[in-house]
Subunit: 333 residues, 2 copies
Amino acid sequence: MTPPTMILEDAPSAVETLQRASGLVAPALNDVVARLSPELQPAIRHHLGGGGKFVRAGLVLLSAAATGAGEEGAVLGAVAIELVHNFSLLHDDIIDGDTERRHRPTVWAKFGVGQALIAGDALVVLALQLLLDEPTPERTNAAARLASATQAMIAGQAEDMAMERRESLSVEECLEMEAGKTGALLSCAAALGAVLSGAPEGAVDALADFGRHLGIAFQAIDDLLGVWGEPAVTGKPVGSDLIRHKKSLPVAIALASQQVPERLRRLLAGDLAGRDVEMVARMLEDCGVREATMAIGEAHLQAALEALDRAVLVARPRAELVAVARYVTARDR
Amino acid sequence: MTPPTMILEDAPSAVETLQRASGLVAPALNDVVARLSPELQPAIRHHLGGGGKFVRAGLVLLSAAATGAGEEGAVLGAVAIELVHNFSLLHDDIIDGDTERRHRPTVWAKFGVGQALIAGDALVVLALQLLLDEPTPERTNAAARLASATQAMIAGQAEDMAMERRESLSVEECLEMEAGKTGALLSCAAALGAVLSGAPEGAVDALADFGRHLGIAFQAIDDLLGVWGEPAVTGKPVGSDLIRHKKSLPVAIALASQQVPERLRRLLAGDLAGRDVEMVARMLEDCGVREATMAIGEAHLQAALEALDRAVLVARPRAELVAVARYVTARDR
């Protein structure tokens, strides 16, 4: 018989962790969504039917387990985080005019802008309702944190939209925007399980920091894939972010770099299509922009992992947090 | 010198009440909104610059005063209610494709759908953040109520959208939809001041009931004006709801009535414009639909006023609640 301690010595697999999270949280998410108006069900079911990796839900569960609590007690928080995440996807798809997500039509493309808009509204309000249903101090604290994180995410999205209209931006501005757009909700997720289990403030803060850095690292890699990603893997055209004039991290790095020639700057400012995009992507790589983007991602992944050292955490879920962090910042995810 | 009791004997003026509410709440609303991302300020400022009657804010303040508390302690709740109300206006204008509100361009028409969408998102989340900032039991209770009311409002809006696509609906379905779309937030407003002041459950319930019936009465009159309103007063074209195939209360009554001839039913189902609309409005009036709509409005106003009898309330704010109720359900408001 395998002694129980052997389990702790296994290297945890992020895929297994996320499958466990999905198994615990997806049914609860479906139950909660069934409370909403019948008129909203088709749009929401279509959206949720596209699946999802349950990364944020997984972080909530691990955050509870890492601070010594059971994962079951954090399922509510995981559902709330997934509701907010899906609210943001529904609204972002309207804002960006994206007609496909996970190889299926987006809600606005299939059901109209009104349906997608109001379905998103219902999800974000439901997330907070859920936590406020039985207002223990821990749940009220969790609701307040989730509301603040959602507001920071909205501010990040607003900055992202504004930057698309601007001609220049600094790397710092870009990272600050991404800390809001992506970091805030991941930070909240990584702390929420600990908050719900009444863990000490030091552990909550360290986990929140872990999530924030992880969010920035995740976004840096996402930005990298937006320029150099394989269409077969990303499901998006080559250089999709370049075509849309998205002021992502590689563009911010290029605009700030002395090594980027004037010609490339002009290309970045103009309208790009087809072969241009591939050429610009290659030129950016030649100027070291890909490497610099990767370095920023790596640095924030490192900062995320170091944040975990600042708290007393249960070994197995801690190792799972590390595995999930490495998994979601891998280039081939 | 006028003895102080004379003030109680004055008939209160709804206009003065709402001016007082606006004077207390508008500056606080502006301060709170200034916390949001600078990128969202132009759109939100434009929207709030259009003014507003602060009916919901007024109800919150009166709800506190009627249960013996100071109005100042309820300003926070009044701001939260106005934030949710303005969130709904921003999103409804996108959904309805309305290009004007209060004789100015709507936010989506001026700044684009993305800006209006995300500005609305920021406002609804801010409303809940505000109440959760210092989570006393009263504020947490208020936040939970506001979240539920917002969800009911969203469900009402979803039903309204679905009904526009349907061929028939009953008067009951229409009233249920309007209880959600308009009644839920007014109900929450009328109860929120009492909740924040820790008033007994009986008083909170009576005030919530008052607000719900008032909301339905208000919507009935709004629907009446959508068919028979004077364009100069409503700022909308004659029979605007008929042109848009809005399944408002008069249409629901007409579809359910034995007295409505087949020809009128066909006209209601077809595309209406110009002279048709005036003729249909006249035909509906001849069949007693206007009178029936008015009767439903009156009945709910009556039910609202009777709800106030079920609680022990301070005389002056109680009289102001009655005055505001009569004012917002007047045909020439």
